[in-house]
């Protein structure tokens, strides 16, 4: 167990399995009438989000509160950062107030690693640049695991990740996590939306991946397509993008019933998914959000419980 969670690669396959098993326990807590346990009582978790985020920030804060941790939220726009204070000074100042964990989202690759160097507190990477988003990947794995009952791993599972992979921290971390779980991953995107160098299977034909009878893929992971990619000349227009890489009604109708449809949210309706997700039997997009809380509870507990208050009457892993 390490002090921080910065990337899936650092967690490794064993770490992924450990978090997912712990998430089962947390999911059980979340099903209770009063979904709150005192496991991290006395711990302080500070959310530092340098990018706008609703679901991830609320998900972490909910997770921390359900474990009875105290939470702080650092609002960048109201901070000394807007007066020119450096990231390092800001982090060191907050750390001096007594913080056990920073949950940090930053638009720059590597920022959580720098923060990890500057503080003895745990650091959870809640997304850095286009680089990594490990808790999203973990909640994705947990969602597949529970939806398909694959507790032993994902050997033989065929996963297609579709869309703007180049700019997606979700794609990078989720691909790494699927590999750690034993799945086969294919990236589906035009060359302009791929990193310059990559080692995944790749195709530009979503139809080939789905197959004529819809049985070619077990998980279809659709990424958010942003409008600015058109002005960067990465795709000609969204209509063409949707026709080539979107989940259109025709493609949705062809999918096998067991195929899971996933999306990290928020969805660009009519672009990457041109069907009402409610009409997709395999869509687990809402479950991804729900599972996010259990997984983030697992992560915070995993990082912070080792030195939890020994006088606590509720010690790991018994939450009863």
């Amino acid at each position: 167990m390490s002090r921080s969670l910065l990337s899936i690669e650092e967690l490794g396959a064993d770490g992924v399995h450990r978090i997912l098993e712990l998430a089962d326990t947390m999911a059980e807590v979340n099903r209770r009438p009063n979904p709150k346990v005192p496991a991290l009582r006395g711990k302080t978790v500070c959310s530092v989000f340098f990018e706008d985020s609703t679901r991830t920030r609320l998900s972490f804060e909910t997770a921390a509160k359900r474990l009875s941790a105290d939470t702080m939220t650092f609002a960048v726009s109201q901070s000394s950062l807007s007066k020119g204070e450096s990231l390092k000074d800001t982090i060191e100042t907050i750390a001096a107030m007594g913080v056990d964990a920073f949950v940090i989202r930053h638009g720059s690759t590597g920022a959580p690693w720098l923060v990890d160097n500057w503080t003895s507190a745990s650091v959870v990477n809640a997304g850095d640049g286009w680089h990594a988003h490990p808790t999203q990947a973990l909640l994705d794995m947990y969602t597949v695991r529970t939806a398909l009952g694959r507790t032993g791993g994902f050997d033989g599972l065929r996963v297609a990740i579709v869309g703007d992979i180049k700019h997606s921290r979700v794609a990078r971390s989720t691909s790494a996590a699927f590999h750690a779980m034993g799945a086969d991953v294919t990236w589906v995107a035009p060359r302009t939306l791929l990193p310059p160098v990559f080692h995944e299977h790749h195709t530009e034909s979503l139809d080939d991946v789905i197959g004529p009878d819809g049985s070619g893929v077990d998980v279809l992971y659709m990424l958010r397509m942003q409008n600015e990619r058109m002005t960067e000349a990465l795709v000609p227009n969204l209509r063409e993008y949707t026709s080539r890489f979107g989940l259109t009604p025709a493609r949705a109708a062809r999918l096998a019933p067991h195929t899971l449809i996933m999306h990290p949210g928020p969805i660009n309706r009519g672009v990457e998914i041109a069907v009402d997700p409610a009409e997709l039997p395999g869509a687990v997009i809402t479950q991804q959000v729900t599972n996010g809380i259990a997984v983030r509870m697992a992560v915070l507990f995993d990082l912070l419980s080792a030195d939890a208050d020994p006088t606590s009457d509720l010690e790991r892993p018994d939450f009863a």
Binding site: S86, G107, S108, T109, V197
Partner: protein, 431 residues
Amino acid sequence: MTDSTSLLITGANVIDATGERLADVRIADGTITDVATGLTAADGEHHIDAAGLTLTPGFVDLHTHLREPGKEEAETIETGSRAAAKGGYTAVVAMPNTDPTQDSVSVVDFVRRQGQLAGLCDVYPSGSITVGRQGTQLTPFGELSEAGVKLFTDDGNGVQDALLMRRAFEYAKGLGVTMAQHCEVEQLTGGAVMHEGDCCSHLGLPGWPSLAEELMVHRDIELVRLTGAPAHFLHLSTMKSVELVRAAKADGLPVTAEATPHHISLTDELLRSYSAIYKVNPPLRTMDDVTAVREGLRDGTIDAVATDHAPHVPESKEQPLDQAPPGMLGLETALGVCIAHLDMPLVDIVAALSWKPAAIAGIDDVHGRPVAVGEPANLTLFDADVSWEVVPAELASKSRNTPFVGVPLRGRTTHTILDGTLTVENGTPTR
């Protein structure tokens, strides 16, 4: 004849453009007065026992950012000159990306005068090719060359406009000056943080493709072919760039090139540390590129090692990769990096550090001269075999952004002599 200001160096392995030999060297009044064996020190004469050390013409850096005027918090002409002297340099060419830009006689005169006041090495200001380095209007090459400017560059930026660059070559040709290009087609590097390749793909960072450098190298070679004007290519970093320059030289074109110590020793993989200490422009490239640049130096395609010494205050480098400015220190570590990483005869390494850059800078009447009677005493004495590591607190530079802390280097300056005066003695600056 000796006097109280004279200096005798005995037992040194002397290397210069004429070759290598053991000799004693006497200096008086800024000039080499004796080169022989068996010289003995007279009463009152300063004597350096240089047995086991190498004596060469002083090093010349074609590419130093002294930051003054405008960024004195990172470096001043005095502190940068001290760092240069400590690294064995007796002359540096100061890059023009100051604030204000070195695009007028008044600014280049200021830089030169501050260098003279510091008195630690000769500071030769370069001029910018375009006013304010904005890439739109040529600077007054004639006035600036009359003020002693020999090298023109918009370093930090390449001149993007091909027509403007053609005019620069054409106009400057008759003035005996050289255009030095920072080769970067900016349309291909927008937002770039590091080399475009496997590592940037993994890190999710915008990449600086090799092609962006190579296209401008190719363009300028063709402009040289068209105009006949000389060009110098700054900090070459890619395999293909080296090949292009090699072919241009084979065609007899008047082109020269430099490589930095970091591009012969470090790769883009170091950015996986997320440390901006490794962020430079052009970026650190792959091992194949490093190998090609080393080979370019070995076969003479690349004429000179130039440091691209780029000081930054610590706070600016303690930022995420995309926010930190590019650049690293170079003056105090160049020799140690070169000997550690270049599989070349020592004479060729010294050539790339001394007389070849002196010729490119147009200062080879004073620097990079043979160690011979009557020549100006701008000299460097170093231990070619000593292994050492950088201690940040011991750096003479005002900044600390070197990637070589904790990295074994080989070869270190012990004494530097500028115009017959010791600026560094036993590794310590004398002022």
